[in-house]
């Protein structure tokens, strides 16, 4: 066959086109040793302290603080004014004609509260409720008048007038808030007594006399409830009361340890009398309990009666009472309170006894009390964190979610290596740590360190003001098996056991921290 020039051209074109089908260039795989920082941060103890229970002083020393009211004795406890009601009525025994506007029923009545030994002569009402129910079986409307002569507000007596339609009933609610009540009765020499006045008449708007029929009635039910005094005066009687207070504390729940030595503390009990009566207080017992393991407070206050003179009435609505206070200080010299704290308590227990007017009515009926001004016994605890500890065990769990790179799981390229934790410990506390990978069911998948490893503690200066950090480096071996577990993990649990490293106690300051850096030191393939 003769090859023509056209055949050659076709062959050339095919050759050129064929050259476009070259095999893609690929390069060999190799391994590189990469070292790069992944993360850094710091752990500061003060970040994990609830502000309610911790404070920082000017020297940046951390303090554990707590405040608890052991006793509060106020108006509601001393003088409970009971609810009371007046049920009365008018019954017409015979048929009689009566003109409108002329009272056909008038009743003035004294009601005396049962307050046991308390003899009140004056009450100013803070809150109260009066319910009035009227029933009229008469064929004419009746005008009803109800007054409490004992209650006045700005010189006006409490009084209400209500029209009750013929053969009808009426229900009304009122209050005595702000009213001053003279409880001395009509003769002015009594106590706990309220004077009321009730009156009924055919309504004056009626133009004709009414012919009462035998059996006609007019019933009145008057109820006074929920009386909360703002201010009372009188004799509060000679009362005694015992208070057994149990206060649960969760301060130490997450901080188990085997030994804690609190070297300094400042605990103050404040007894504050805002009541205008003489008082006697006895603290029978204060103790801390750790799951039933009780430590009782030893202090001169225990079992001793403390007498408090009455508060002073200043008659100033803005600042009506001058309280009488007494503070009791607990130190490591006069008490064993540190033992109560070192007991790592879950409960505090207080047994108190109060005697009101132990000498009787020496004020001649001039005891007084204002709302919100009570007899209180509170305890304030301030423990500077100058401590030594052994075996303080901390556990924290934080979410962990390995994020696979978007272009595939690059971890397949990791051959071997380690995650390097560089720790600069600014606390004079050595720590034994271990990390655990946890799955979503809380099951432990792996421990990151070969064995729990000690992190060296810093060295505290003699004055306790500075700490020279100690560096520790932890290597977490990494291989494909472990990376697979990291991918399956949803949480990392950190378990730490702390021992203080000072000769004696160490100072825990807000500016101290443990700095950490995480470095990946890996041998990685360029392809997989």
């Amino acid at each position: 066959m003769k090859i023509s020039q056209y055949h050659l051209i076709i062959v050339l074109v095919l050759l050129i086109l064929g050259s476009g089908c070259r095999k893609e260039l690929s390069i060999a795989e190799w391994d590189v040793d990469v070292v790069a920082p992944i993360a850094f941060g710091s752990v500061n103890f003060s970040n994990y302290t609830d502000t309610k229970n911790f404070s920082i002083d000017n020297g940046k020393l951390l303090h554990v603080i707590a405040s608890e009211t052991l006793l509060s004795l106020g108006l509601d406890t001393l003088i409970g004014i009971p609810d009371y009601s007046i049920d009365t009525g008018f019954f017409i025994p015979i048929s009689i004609s009566y003109p409108p506007g002329v009272p056909f029923f008038v009743q003035k009545e004294e009601t005396k509260f049962d307050l046991k030994d308390v003899e009140l002569t004056f009450v100013e009402i803070r809150d109260s409720k009066i319910e009035v129910f009227l029933e009229n079986t008469i064929d004419k409307p009746v005008l009803f008048t109800y007054s409490i002569y004992s209650a006045t507000l700005n010189g006006d007596t409490f009084s209400i007038e209500e029209r009750v339609e013929a053969n009808d009933t009426l229900h009304r609610s009122f209050n005595l808030n702000g009213y001053a009540m003279d409880l001395r009765g009509e003769d002015g020499n009594g106590y706990n007594t309220v004077v009321t006045f009730i009156q009924a008449m055919i309504h004056p708007d009626e133009t004709q006399n009414h012919q009462f029929q035998a059996g006609d009635q007019f019933n009145i039910q008057n109820t006074v409830t929920n009386v909360i005094p703002e201010y009372v005066v009188g004799y509060f009687g000679s009362q005694t009361a015992s208070f057994n207070e149990i206060e649960s504390v969760d301060l130490f729940d997450a901080v188990p340890f085997t030994r804690l030595n609190v070297t300094d503390f400042n605990v103050e009990m404040t007894i504050d009398n805002g009541i205008g009566a003489d008082l006697e207080l006895k603290v029978n017992q204060l103790s801390s309990s750790n799951k039933g393991d009780r430590v009782d407070l030893e202090h001169s206050i225990i079992g001793q009666s403390m007498k408090f003179t009455r508060a002073i009435n200043l008659y100033d609505r803005g600042n009506p009472v001058k309280h009488i206070q007494r503070k009791v200080l607990f130190t490591d010299e006069n008490s064993n309170l540190d033992a109560l704290l070192e007991n790592r308590p879950d409960q505090f227990f207080a047994d108190l006894f109060v005697d009101v007017n132990p000498l009787g009515n020496v004020s001649l009926g001039n005891d007084f009390a204002y709302y919100g001004h009570n007899l209180t016994a509170s305890i304030e605890l301030d423990v500077p964190l100058i401590v030594s500890t052994t075996g303080l065990f901390l556990t924290d769990t934080f979410a962990f979610n390995y994020l696979a790179p978007k272009d595939g799981n690059q971890l397949d390229r990791v051959n071997y290596g380690s995650l390097r934790f560089i720790l600069d410990n600014g606390y004079a506390i050595e720590a034994r740590v271990q990390f655990y990978l946890m799955d979503s069911l809380g099951m432990q998948l792996d421990s990151l360190l070969v064995a729990p490893t000690w992190i060296a503690g810093g060295t505290e200066s003699a004055d306790g003001l500075t700490v020279v950090p100690a560096r520790s480096i932890l290597e977490v071996p990494v291989n494909q098996a472990r990376l697979g577990l990291m991918e399956a993990a949803t949480e990392i649990r950190l378990e730490t056991m702390l021992n203080t490293t000072g000769i004696d106690s160490i100072h825990v300051r807000s500016d101290q921290k443990m700095e950490f850096k995480v470095v990946a030191d890996l041998n990685v393939s360029t392809q997989k």
Binding site: S19, S26, I38, V43, V519
Partner: protein
């Protein structure tokens, strides 16, 4: 003659140009005929890398640590260059009424890559940064340029005498792909424990539209000009010489407005992701903050806009004795622009077995390499020209010390 043909067949040579352009002088010696043919060639040349390493890298499954180690030891501290050129072209000419004039045409696909790598950049890339812990890696001076383009052109060739010709070819250039990175200054410090990386980088980057990638995709448009002449002259007594001068790819490409360009001048210190709160550690790794840090230095200068760029062209000046039989000598030089190419000079010696068959060898110095050797051979008949070349023979012979490999084939069929 058969023995000579056997030798010729073994070498398949006629003219050697170790770092001459892949473009071939196609349009000379038409002798009043039309022609059609192709030329193809690929040159890879480097004085700094070895063929053993490049073979290991490109052809084996895994990189041999020993090969890599020896390679790094022999690299120049600051500059290790490599250049790659490729072209395949369909060419032809149409003789106008059996005169000395020809209309010529060409369709081609070409690519050029050149790069310069400091030794530590190579070491960092193939070994990782761990071996530099506590030290600074200086990769300043790293630059790479890669460009691929297609051309379609037409022109005119004139051959007033047997060995005298002149031609010019104007081409429309399609810019397919561009990648260019210039790292003027880059230093990476890795702390001893690996807890700090400090990167100081000043450089620029250009890349054609990344969303339009593939053979002959249009990302830029330009013009290219090839022209040259060939003329005989007499010197050194009555010796006949042939003078050739060619210019290839004198032109430019305007890359379109989707071309990525940015300059970076930033200092980044990376110590990892800060974790202020251990309780939410997973959320704090949600983003790649290292990438964000680097991009802060880039984003302000990042832009997509048109880019005018010269083509990586070349000019060849060549003188060669013209004999139908016997030993021949010659010399020449090649200069290139926009290719990070040192001027290349060479001397040639060959043997013309007949007016149809020739074999030449060449020793040259310059370009991307230092000393290099090439062989070139041709077969010429009245209606058919073959030309084949092998270059960088020294790298093929001393495999572990030199690198490079170039080969090309040209075929031309002449007809009335």
């Amino acid at each position: 003659m058969s023995g000579r043909l056997l030798i010729f067949s073994c070498f398949f040579v006629s003219m050697s140009m170790a770092q001459s352009p892949v473009q071939h002088r196609f349009y000379a010696e038409n002798n009043g005929k039309s022609s059609v043919g192709f030329s193809s060639g690929i040159n890879m040349t480097t004085a700094d890398f070895s063929n053993k390493f490049i073979k290991n890298l490109l052809m084996d499954k895994e990189l041999d640590r020993g090969v890599l180690s020896r390679e790094i030891d022999r690299l120049d501290e600051s500059k290790n260059r490599i250049g790659i050129d490729y072209e395949i072209a369909l060419k032809g000419s149409w003789n106008i009424k059996s005169t000395a004039h020809n209309i010529i045409f060409s369709v081609s696909d070409g690519a050029h890559f050149h790069g310069s790598f400091p030794m530590e950049a190579v070491d960092l890339m193939f070994s990782g940064n761990k071996k530099f812990a506590g030290d600074t890696v200086d990769v300043s001076g790293l630059n790479v340029t890669g460009i691929r383009f297609q051309q379609m052109g037409a022109g005119w060739a004139y051959q007033p005498g047997l060995n005298t010709s002149i031609y010019g070819l104007v081409s429309i250039v399609n810019g397919e792909q561009l990648i260019q990175a210039d790292v003027n200054r880059a230093k990476l410090y890795t702390s001893t424990l690996g807890d700090t990386l400090h990167l100081n980088v000043v450089g620029g980057y250009k890349q054609s539209d990344t969303g339009n990638v593939g053979f002959a995709r249009g990302n830029g448009l330009g013009l290219g000009l090839n022209f040259g002449l060939q003329a005989p002259f007499q010197a050194i007594g009555s010796t006949q010489w042939m003078l050739s001068m060619d210019v290839f790819n004198l032109g430019f490409i305007q890359w379109n407005k989707k071309t990525i360009q940015f300059d970076i001048d930033t200092v980044v210190t990376w110590t990892g992701v800060e974790i202020p709160d251990l309780d939410h550690i997973d959320e704090q790794f949600a983003d790649n903050q290292l990438a964000d840090s680097l991009l802060e230095g880039v984003n302000s200068a990042f832009k997509k806009t048109r880019l005018n760029q010269w083509l990586p062209g070349s000019a060849v000046f060549d003188i060669m004795q013209k004999k139908d039989h016997g030993f021949v000598l010659g010399l020449g030089t090649v200069v290139r622009w926009k290719a990070d190419f040192n001027p290349f000079g060479y001397v040639k010696a060959g043997y013309a077995f007949s007016e149809h068959i020739g074999l030449q060898s060449q020793i040259g110095y310059g370009g991307y390499v230092h000393l290099q050797v090439g062989l070139d051979a041709s077969l010429r008949w009245e209606s058919m020209h073959f030309n084949i070349y092998l270059r960088n023979i020294e790298a093929m012979a001393v495999f572990g010390n030199y690198a490079g490999g170039s080969a090309g084939l040209t075929f031309k069929y002449l007809f009335q």
